[in-house]
């Protein structure tokens, strides 16, 4: 069984590293998701094209391969990244690409009359976006962002492969040291599940706030379940389109 010394020197910091990687990658991913998502609704075709290429390339890429490439191949081009930042960038870049589709889809789902009303009131494009479209699109974005955030949390386990000392890395160290595998990996799985659960609860609160902001009450859902409703899945089929998550 794992000694308490090991637990405090490797496992607890590992949990903290996992949380850090999740938060940093989510921040980078959110910035990219909104940047690319908005660029894909631009009026200029060249902006749409460049954003579209980014989306297709990073969505088609395996996060693990990208991470390896950034860790092993990029230094030879002259950029040596700290392992953690190689991991964070790889995760942020890929999950940002998935997120851009959520942003684009939710913006497109805002009723056209709302946009036209903005035009009629002589709002600038930026004012329309900030005051009319985004506030209405935001509550629609939260549930798919929750799913994406959990995919991201699961993706952070990959950073252990490029020597970042997250909790999976600590688990592997313990396996090499003691050969006691059952408790370690069971504990790891439970920890990830608990983190995913906390994220889902947190996002539920965000969703309630967002819906209240536009005068809607969210529908009641089960305790743990973050299951997509039948509508959610068909919307996903329609807007999130090919490539999927993960």
């Amino acid at each position: 069984m794992m000694s308490s010394e090991f637990f405090t020197t490797w496992f607890l910091p590992g949990i903290w590293v996992t949380i850090q990687v999740t938060v940093y990658a989510a921040a980078l991913g959110a910035a990219i998701a909104f940047g690319i998502g908005l660029a894909r609704t631009s009026r200029l075709w060249i902006v749409r094209f460049v954003a579209g290429v980014y989306f297709e390339v990073f969505r088609g890429m395996s996060a693990l391969v990208l991470m390896f490439w950034m860790f092993f191949a990029l230094p030879l081009f002259g950029w040596q990244l700290v392992p953690m930042w190689a991991g964070v960038s790889a995760l942020g870049l890929t999950y940002g690409a998935y997120g851009s589709e959520i942003v684009r889809g939710s913006l497109a789902a805002v009723a056209p009359a709302q946009r036209e009303a903005g035009v009629a009131l002589n709002f600038t494009r930026w004012q329309r976006l900030r005051l009319i479209e985004l506030p209405q699109a935001w509550p629609e974005m939260v549930p798919p962002f929750n799913n994406l955030l959990i995919e991201l949390l699961k993706g952070t386990a990959l950073v252990s492969v490029i020597t970042v000392a997250d909790m999976t890395f600590a688990g592997n160290l313990l396996r090499l040291g003691t050969n006691e595998t059952t408790p370690v990996y069971s504990l790891l799985l439970v920890l990830y599940f608990v983190l995913a659960f906390l994220i889902t609860r947190g996002m539920r609160v965000v969703e309630r706030k967002a819906k209240a902001g536009i005068g809607q009450t969210p529908q009641k859902t089960g305790f743990i379940t973050r299951k997509l409703s039948a509508r959610g899945e068909s919307v996903q089929a329609g807007s999130q389109s090919a490539g999927g998550m993960g």
């Binding site: 949390l153 595998t181 899945e233 068909s234 089929a237 090919a242 490539g243 993960g246």
Partner: protein, 215 residues
């Protein structure tokens, strides 16, 4: 940094070996995911609570934990009290099991998306249970199910390099081994490009399917 085409050329034979292993994992993993997912979905629709609850709990747990750790679990823990499998077999089982929990949701949504009126009409026409499923429900559910299932196949392709971490020689495994032996990195770039080259047409294909099936 110099790019050396000779290195790429040396890597190519092993690259194709890796492609074969990746494809093998993908095809068998997909089959497992599709079949097992249907089993989960039907079990979750069961009228018996003692079937419904455990299955829902297990699939939620598998879906919310990382595939990488599940692979470690299958490879290092399961042999302690169960069968010990080769890295590739473990990888295939892991991929199939993990994605079956996603496909279960797809089937569930597809079947649930068929309007209630269709069930009622089948009852009104006094169709048998088998006939209701075969002639009324499934043909309508399939249309909704195919595009998201396709998405998950592409997602599985992108997760397949994870099986290299437990020692399977898929595309990434071969690239890693080659890079370590020759102190080069071209192989990794080749594999990265290969993923985009495969995934992009695949996603175009799924989008075309979506347009045809979902109307």
């Amino acid at each position: 940094m110099s790019w050396d085409w000779n290195v790429v050329e040396d890597f190519m034979p092993r690259f194709w070996d890796g492609v074969l292993v990746t494809l093998q994992a993908l095809v068998i993993g997909t089959l497992i995911a599709f079949v097992l997912g249907l089993v989960w979905a039907l079990a979750q629709r069961s009228s018996q609570a003692w079937v419904r609850w455990p299955v829902t709990a297990v699939t939620e747990f598998i879906r919310n934990t990382p595939l990488l750790v599940q692979l470690f679990f299958l490879f290092y823990v399961v042999p302690n009290f169960g069968p010990s499998m080769s890295p590739l077999t473990t990888g295939i089982v892991g991929l199939g099991l993990h994605y079956s929990t996603y496909t279960a949701e797809v089937y569930r949504a597809g079947i649930g998306g068929v309007p209630v009126g269709q069930w009622e009409a089948a009852t009104a026409l006094s169709l048998s249970k088998g006939r209701t499923w075969r002639a009324v429900i499934l043909p309508q559910a399939i249309r909704r199910v195919v595009p998201p299932l396709g998405n998950y196949v592409v997602a599985m392709l992108k997760d397949s390099p994870m099986i290299a971490t437990i020692g399977a020689f898929d595309m990434l495994g071969e690239a890693q081994a080659f890079s370590n032996e020759t102190f080069t990195t071209e192989a990794l770039t080749v594999v990265g490009v290969a993923f985009i080259v495969v995934a992009y047409p695949a996603s175009l294909l799924i989008r075309a399917l979506e347009r045809r099936l979902v109307r």
